[in-house]
């Protein structure tokens, strides 16, 4: 090779340093000196010496031959009895707080040349921030789980009410969710006149967009009832056919959305990053807090409607027994339409919130649909409050799975589905379901 290798150049330079060190030091004639330099480079700054680091040198046989501490210049000159190969080791306990040796670099081998000594440089890095202990993450995990559960709950209450009143497992419910989020995302693009992200202006713009999105979801759900489900019921077409029809509708609508909205997930135009605000041990963004409260209010309103109002009583009557309900003078068809409209609005609202938590994509509804089915099955098919209980269980389970098995976090939805199957094994009617013998 025409040029000395890089390693050789380094060695020559190091040897030169050692040479200087040798003559500036007060070494015994036969002894050799190893100059150890410990430095730290702050991010974007110059190298700084690190003082007070304990060092030890062992020879090839592993016997301790020298010990020392770095001075104010970050340098320690240690005397070794002969030339040859030595190992310089940093005592990591002596490092100043916040500094660390890169993994595996605590010690290095130095070749000491007779008459020239040896040289070792240590470059420290910033210590990795102390990993938060698992337990300290638990309150936040539970908070997230409940929040996610509430979001699933507002989506799946509609699914559950529809099942209870008509007996239909509506596979197009996921697309109602998607429509709510996608139309909000589209409308949010119209409203960004100021161009400012976040803040109260963004909040108002996004709220206005949300009204449009939720309106579209409501209209979609209601229109399906009027145009498809009601005529099918009149013709006496059975539930399984209707379920397959809902799969067909879901597929058609999903790919219409993909065709015209695009395959790329997007955020709302007003979306910006936010600082956490701390509530006790839980750091939460104002956004997450607001959406959590909105979800809670929506659920409370649904609960009030179902328990206290005449419409709610009628809905519960129809879910218990449609024929009996209509003989008592309840307009069953109207109640069913109400349920579709209400369910659509809630699904749309859930979609808007879900689009804030993640991103708005063409298949977000399909992805969450199975979680919704798991929630209402867990809670007990056809029990409106079962949907709430089941959703909270699913939300908590998903987040706790990710917390517990952090290296298998990608399987967290799998965990929720598995839990649903296991619950069905031991309590087939679900958590709140009525026990009935089928077979």
């Amino acid at each position: 090779m025409a040029f000395p290798s890089f390693r050789k150049v380094i060695r020559i330079v190091l040897a030169a340093f050692a040479f200087i060190a040798f003559f500036s030091g007060t070494a015994h004639a036969e002894d050799e000196t190893i100059q150890v330099r410990v430095q730290f480079t702050p991010e974007g700054g110059k190298k700084e010496p690190v003082e007070g680091v304990d060092l030890s040198i062992t020879d090839a046989a592993g016997a301790l031959v020298a010990e020392g501490v770095t001075d104010v210049k970050g340098v320690a000159r240690l005397v070794v009895p002969s030339d040859g190969s030595f190992t310089v080791t940093i005592n990591t306990d002596s490092l100043p707080e916040g500094l660390a040796v890169p993994d595996g670099a605590e010690s290095r081998t130095v070749t000491v040349t007779a008459g020239l000594g040896g040289n070792a440089n240590f470059n420290l890095g910033a210590a990795a921030p102390e990993p938060a202990s698992k337990i300290s993450l638990l309150p936040k995990t539970i908070f997230n789980g409940i929040r996610f559960g509430l979001v699933i709950a507002i989506m799946s209450v509609g699914l559950s009410l529809i099942y209870a009143t008509t007996g239909l497992s509506n596979f197009a419910h996921g697309e109602t969710v998607t429509i709510g989020a996608v139309m909000t995302a589209v409308a949010s693009g119209w409203f960004t006149l100021s161009g400012a992200k976040g803040g109260w202006g963004g909040f108002v713009q996004l709220s206005a967009a949300m009204v449009i999105g939720v309106g579209c979801a409501t209209a979609f759900s209601g229109a399906l009832e009027l145009a498809v489900w009601r005529p099918m019921r009149r013709r006496g077409i059975g539930l399984t056919s209707m379920m397959i029809v809902s799969i067909g509708i879901a597929m058609a609508v999903r790919f219409i959305i993909q065709m015209y909205y695009g395959s790329q997930p997007k955020s709302y135009a007003q979306f910006g990053s936010q600082q956490n605000i701390n509530i006790g041990p839980i750091g939460v963004t104002p956004r997450d807090l607001t959406t959590g409260i909105v979800a809670l209010i929506a659920l409370g309103a649904v609960g009030y409607l179902l328990i206290k109002t005449r419409t709610g009583k009628a809905i519960r009557a129809v879910s218990d027994n449609p024929d009996l309900a209509s003989t008592t003078g309840i307009n069953t068809e109207r109640i069913i339409l109400t349920v579709w409209v209400l369910g659509g609005a809630l699904a749309g609202l859930g979609g808007v919130i879900f689009g804030l938590d993640e991103q708005v994509s063409w298949n977000m509804g399909t992805k969450i649909l199975l979680m919704m089915f798991a929630a209402i099955t867990l809670g007990g098919l056809g029990r409106p409050f079962g949907a709430l209980v089941g959703s909270l269980a699913v939300g908590l389970f998903v987040q706790l799975w990710a917390w517990m098995f952090s290296s298998y976090a990608d399987l967290k939805t799998m965990g929720a589905l598995l839990a649903m199957i296991l619950v069905l094994l031991f309590r087939p009617q679900g958590i709140l379901g009525k026990k009935e013998r089928v077979g």
Partner: protein, 332 residues
Amino acid sequence: MSQTISNGLFGAIGITAIAYCLAAIGLNVHFGYTGLLNFGQAGFALVGGYAVAMPVMNWQWSIWATIPVVIVASSIFALLLGIPTLRLRSDYLAIVTIAAAEILRLLVSTPKLVNVTGATDGINSFTDDIQNTIPAFLKGKTVPLWEKQISDYEMWVIILGWLLVTLFSVGVWSLMRSPWGRVLRSIREDEDAARSLGKNVFAYKMTSLVLGGVIGGFGGAILVIGQRNASPGSFQTQFTFLTYAIIVLGGVGKVKGPIVGAMIFWFMINVSDNLLADWTDGSGFQLPTWIMDSSNFSFFRWILVGTGLVLLVIFRPQGIFGDKREQAFDVR
């Protein structure tokens, strides 16, 4: 145009059609004859596909030795699904099967298992045994299908696949004419009546689930062999829904339903794809770009499938060959 028709014909007899046809034969046993709402046929196909690919890849088995693995693995999956759900209302079976299929898909997708399942990229190069057994009359030749050239490997898989379809169709046909098949149909029509006659409904449903599941498993096996790749992307929930579309199209509860359905389905998919590609490629007749362009026309086929499924179920629920008096819809 002749190119489009040739591609359509290839779609009708090709590997995908065979795989979906087998899955549909299995689903027809579940849904068409027994009235089981199995929404997890993708899971059975996945089990079958990976039962072929994994032993060859991980333990250097001969691919032919994996045939019993397909049968055993699909049967076990059916038992696991059936035990918790077959005593419950049919909705529960639907939810649990769709969930179980997703569980399997997520499990084989996880990067942690990349050495066993190949994660999202899946498993490749497990088909040497198929390649090596191509018979001499095919070896190195391409088979023309009008304007479409079929490679020797594809043709060999197509032959094997249609043999399987024939085998299972004849099997299902004779089984359904047997007393056993009549009990299945009586369960579909009225489960309580069958039970009151002393039939063990649970056991009949379970055998039906296992039988249809194994056939679906072979569908997945043919799919991964034909694609020379076993990856989770082939076994999404969509797989099950397309299988439903196929049996509704061909006629639920009919032996020829899945065959006719799969052939017509994939013929139409390929023809419409070719036509739309032709109408958006910038020359000759063009669709307005606000309707679709070359970047998004490929999604249109699924819109067609979805709409077609809706119209079929509402206006011609018996499909093309079904008998309106005997249709499996409206199981409870």
